[in-house]
């Protein structure tokens, strides 16, 4: 059984993965987007005649996806749910399992390969968010989209998982 040159490295990695998991959970349910509708020169009329159309709506990543599924976009909703919630959780779990294996001096084998391949999809969920924001920013009538702290938590989780992936490879190299 091989020894690790820096025995503290698995502890650092676990801390990174745990922080990433906490930020992921917070990012999924924290306020992500606030949509403030505006109807341009007809704004006051539409607010008067159809007040519900002018209401500000706030979404978290999860509530946004569930609203999408609720409105009949089941396919895209499930796809987003997979890439935004289930997939990052599984990725972190695989990385944590690989860390545990490496910390005992054993090679991680397929776990490390899986962690490496899943890492390639890390930014996909953030890209989806960015596309939604750009799409709504492009709406006429000065409709505004304000990003909430949930986005920062979510992005922080992605960044930490990337850092975790790099540390994991370093750990593998030490064995």
């Amino acid at each position: 059984m091989a020894q690790i040159r820096h025995p503290w490295l698995p502890h650092i990695l676990r801390l990174i993965l745990l922080s990433s998991a906490i930020l992921l959970g917070v990012g999924l349910v924290g306020p992500c987007m606030k949509i403030i509708p505006n109807f341009g020169e007809f704004d006051s009329w539409i607010r008067l005649l159809k007040p519900h159309a002018g209401k500000t709506s706030e979404y978290s990543v999860l509530s946004g996806i569930l609203a999408m599924i609720d409105h009949g976009n089941i396919g895209i909703g499930l796809l987003l749910l997979f890439f935004s919630a289930l997939f990052p959780t599984l990725k972190l779990a695989v990385m944590a399992y690989a860390t545990q294996t490496l910390s005992t001096g054993q090679r991680a084998g397929w776990l490390l390969t899986a962690a490496h391949h899943t890492g390639k999809f890390s930014m996909l969920d953030v890209m989806v968010l960015a596309l939604i924001v750009i799409a709504i920013k492009g709406l006429p009538g000065n409709t505004q989209v304000q990003l909430g702290w949930g986005v920062w938590a979510f992005a922080g989780s992605v960044v930490l998982s990337l850092v975790g992936s790099m540390v994991l490879h370093r750990l593998e190299a030490e064995i």
Binding site: I22, G25, V29, K50
Partner: protein, 201 residues
């Protein structure tokens, strides 16, 4: 394996707690107007808004509303207060159940006034000041070009009205089955009045 399970549990727990907190945050918005007084306050101004009038299928004399083609009545509501005809709600054609909106804009006036409108003038209800023992007279007509039929004429004691929705069931021998009147405080913010309109009261 323990750490992998721990990661899944951490994410699931935070999502679960966050979701539960969000649901609890939304719950209180269900209760509205719980602290409103039972009846209107004397010496205050209120909008008197006739929201709904439902006619009986036949006139008080048991005849069809329109003997020519058998169509339902053309409702027109007139309000008298302190000896003056104070307000009337516009005709509705051939309807047994007639409703009106709290806001009404006269497009012709809007155009002739240069496209500007005073929002207060768009409120489709007169403002009344409540004095103890004072009443208004509400007339509900089937408006016909030749002979209009009076479906119901009733005195309403203003001090007996409640703030918000009032459902009035007229006597069975009248031509009207029910009337709904909203009493809205003059100081009600415009946004709340818009909410009242969109929520149906």
């Amino acid at each position: 394996m323990l750490w992998a399970i721990a990661i899944v549990v951490v994410v699931a727990s935070i999502v679960g707690v966050g979701w539960w907190l969000q649901r609890n945050d939304r719950a209180p918005s269900i209760s509205v107007n719980a602290t409103q007084p039972a009846t209107v306050t004397p010496d205050r101004d209120y909008y008197f808004f006739v929201r709904l009038v439902e006619f009986n299928p036949k006139t008080p004399k048991g005849k069809s509303w329109d003997s020519a083609d058998g169509s339902a009545p053309d409702a027109e509501i007139v309000l008298h207060w302190r000896g003056n005809k104070t307000f009337s709600w516009a005709d509705r054609k051939d309807q047994l159940i007639n409703t009106w909106d709290l806001f009404r804009v006269d497009v012709k006036d809007l155009i002739t006034s240069g496209g500007k409108i005073d929002i207060a003038s768009a409120v489709n209800a007169p403002m009344l000041n409540i004095k103890p023992g004072e009443s208004v007279t509400l007339e509900i007509w089937d408006d016909d070009p030749a002979f209009s039929d009076l479906a119901l004429k009733m005195e309403i004691d203003l001090s007996q009205l409640r703030v918000g929705r009032n459902k009035i069931i007229p006597p069975g021998d009248s031509g009207v089955n029910r009337v709904e009147i909203d009493m809205i405080d003059r100081d009600t913010p415009l946004a709340t009045m818009i909410e009242l309109q969109s929520a149906g009261g």
